[in-house]
Symmetry: C2
DNA sequence: CTGAAAGCGCTTACAG
DNA sequence: CTGAAAGCGCTTACAG
């Protein structure tokens, strides 16, 4: 466990020079740098991150906050963000708050994040007002996936458009009796996805002059089991829809299972669409609206890196928390073009696209 | 962003006393503690983790290394470990190395982990010898799930027993023509799961005097898509097995899809078993050998905490890396009974159990 | 029970 | 281009 002083001694220079040489700063002669590098390698020296952080004020750590690690969507966001962050020398501090709603057991607290990270990535998490405030007061950039507002940059798909695509597809195939299976109570809070997808469905139906039967508007948790249960109820009813727009592939896979167990053939007796393009969607032949989840994670991470760099360049000295509020703009001005281009609300939208498989077909002629 | 000195001033005591009072150390009078707590609350003081770490030598961070975050098994391990760690005040530094094999792109390097964590959790990762050595030289406890050896404590199920359970079940139902779908080339390296499961299958078949047809021993990556592809080949063959033992539920779900697409009924024409009890297993009616994945993550984390505590109590002073080699034993001696009881190889085994659903039945009478 | 002081191992102006 | 020194914000013996 050699310290910087050991390296300095071995190389015959001061610790300041070692520090500069090892971090690749200019203002070090080639010869000196060479000697320092050699000495460091021989001593297997690695700078103490804790000491560097204390002295420099940056941690090289980004906090990643998620409601779940175990769900497909979140795992893929994490993977995407993590890869970009690691590639740029940043570490990932994972906060799994273990639940969706704002009244979940584990809340964000300042002792967890404060001075521990250079930035925070919030992934599709519905938060309490106090949590949002806490994040804003942290003094570091915050970037989200799926949570617009609060002055933070947000990466997301157009959820209205995604649901519209699925619905349009079914309508064009000739379906008129279409049910909707939503992901959860669309409470319209700071996480607009459920409400947006519902709106996309309803608006599209109305535009085509089709009825939206309240009894066919279902919602459940975002799981295949939930989809199975809800669809079983729906499909056992006397009058049956000929198609179901499910708000996620996991829900859709539940619908497929329900259909199978009731002896309904897909797509002959029932068409089903999902949203996501889950790993298992192809195996189930599921027609779905694919969204680039990994890419959204990567993009959010890149924007984060950009904002951190911008904040740094703006010249907060160590210990000065700076102001995260305008990190986006400042970042743009200081460190080149931002990746993706946020609109005036700070939202960067990525595209979703319909993927045709075997779970959809024209309705049977009655 | 108040510092400890602000609190000291406000409370009219020294910074040493603030430090003690806030951390709940004894040797602080009730009145003083009261005043300090009040002052700290008013100033919204939170100690700088970076400064604490530098001074104390502990980071309150545990590194969690995984080949993937996106797969069911790993996500659930992470979730379990993370919850225990967080509940005990530890943070989770996530290292997604992005691949299974020892020749994956992202290797563990000392600059990533060195002095950055108080311990490392390695989750079912096949490593290079240099990586294992690196971890051992880190000077902090290492606990694994699924990777025995190296002097580290390892949590796992008995994979031989798991595969045996599935095979026994099918044999008892009367199957004699059983195929095996393994997870990957069983290379017998430091990650014994694939080879163990294969052994459980083969041994059980032989014990019952049943043939193991090499053409029916398949393997692929651990995905449903891989299972679908492999099973499609298998089931199109002239002579068909009446049952398939798949090494994971995702593989098994792929087999189910293959059967469906070939018009084979499950379980009438083909019985299928998995291993895991994946979230989607129930929805697919899959008979499987359930393993408690979340619990393995939790257990590994608890053992880790225990070893960290033991190491601490053994009295390494700040900066002294201590010796992780005997952390297990020392932990036991110092900090009470260890959670779970490692055998002489340092392995803690948790139980798996057969879960009967609708994907298995006696073979059709020819 | 409390405080003064050393020290953790770096980075960063400031001089030169 | 290089070094001496201050400082980052805590914790921890050591005295008292």
């Amino acid at each position: 466990m050699s310290r910087i002083e050991d390296v300095a001694q071995a190389a015959g220079v001061s610790i300041a020079t070692v520090s500069r040489a090892l971090r690749g700063l200019p203002m070090v002669s080639a010869g000196t740098r060479q000697r320092v590098l050699l000495a460091a390698a021989e001593l297997q020296y690695v700078a103490s991150p804790t000491a560097s952080s204390l002295a420099s004020g940056r941690t090289m750590v980004v906090g990643v906050v998620v409601p779940y690690v175990t769900r497909w969507y979140f795992a893929h966001l994490i993977a995407g963000a993590s890869e970009v962050l690691r590639r740029h020398g940043y570490h990932v501090l994972l906060f799994d708050v273990g639940g969706e709603g704002p009244e979940r057991p584990m809340l964000l607290e300042s002792r967890a994040l404060f001075r521990r990270v250079d930035g925070v990535l919030v992934l599709s998490l519905r938060m309490q007002a106090t949590e949002r405030e806490l994040l804003s007061n942290l003094g570091v950039p915050v970037v989200t996936v799926g949570v617009p507002g609060n002055g933070w940059t947000c990466v997301r798909i157009d959820d209205v458009a995604a649901a519209t695509r699925a619905t349009e597809h079914l309508v064009r195939l000739g379906h008129r009796d279409i049910a909707f299976l939503g992901g959860e109570p669309a409470d319209g809070g700071d996480f607009p996805t459920p409400a947006d997808r519902e709106r996309g469905f309803v608006t599209t139906m109305r535009r085509h002059g089709l009825d939206v039967d309240p009894a066919w508007m279902l919602s459940t948790d975002w799981t295949a089991a939930g989809g199975l249960a809800a669809a079983s109820r729906l499909l056992r009813g006397g009058r049956r829809p000929t198609a179901v727009v499910a708000c996620s592939d996991e829900l859709a896979i539940g619908v497929l299972a329900a259909a199978r167990s009731l002896g309904l053939r897909v797509p002959q007796d029932l068409s089903v669409t999902g949203i996501d393009d889950h790993d298992m969607a192809a195996v189930h032949g599921l027609t779905t609206v694919a969204q680039p989840v990994n890419q959204q994670g990567r993009l959010a991470a890149r924007i984060m890196l950009h904002e951190v760099a911008g904040k740094e360049a703006r010249g907060s000295s160590a210990g000065d928390a700076g102001d995260a509020g305008d990190a986006v703009d400042a970042g743009d001005a200081v460190a080149g073009a931002a990746p993706g281009s946020p609109n005036q609300d700070g939202v960067v939208e990525v595209d979703s696209e319909l993927v045709l498989r075997s779970s959809t077909a024209p309705p049977a002629v009655p």
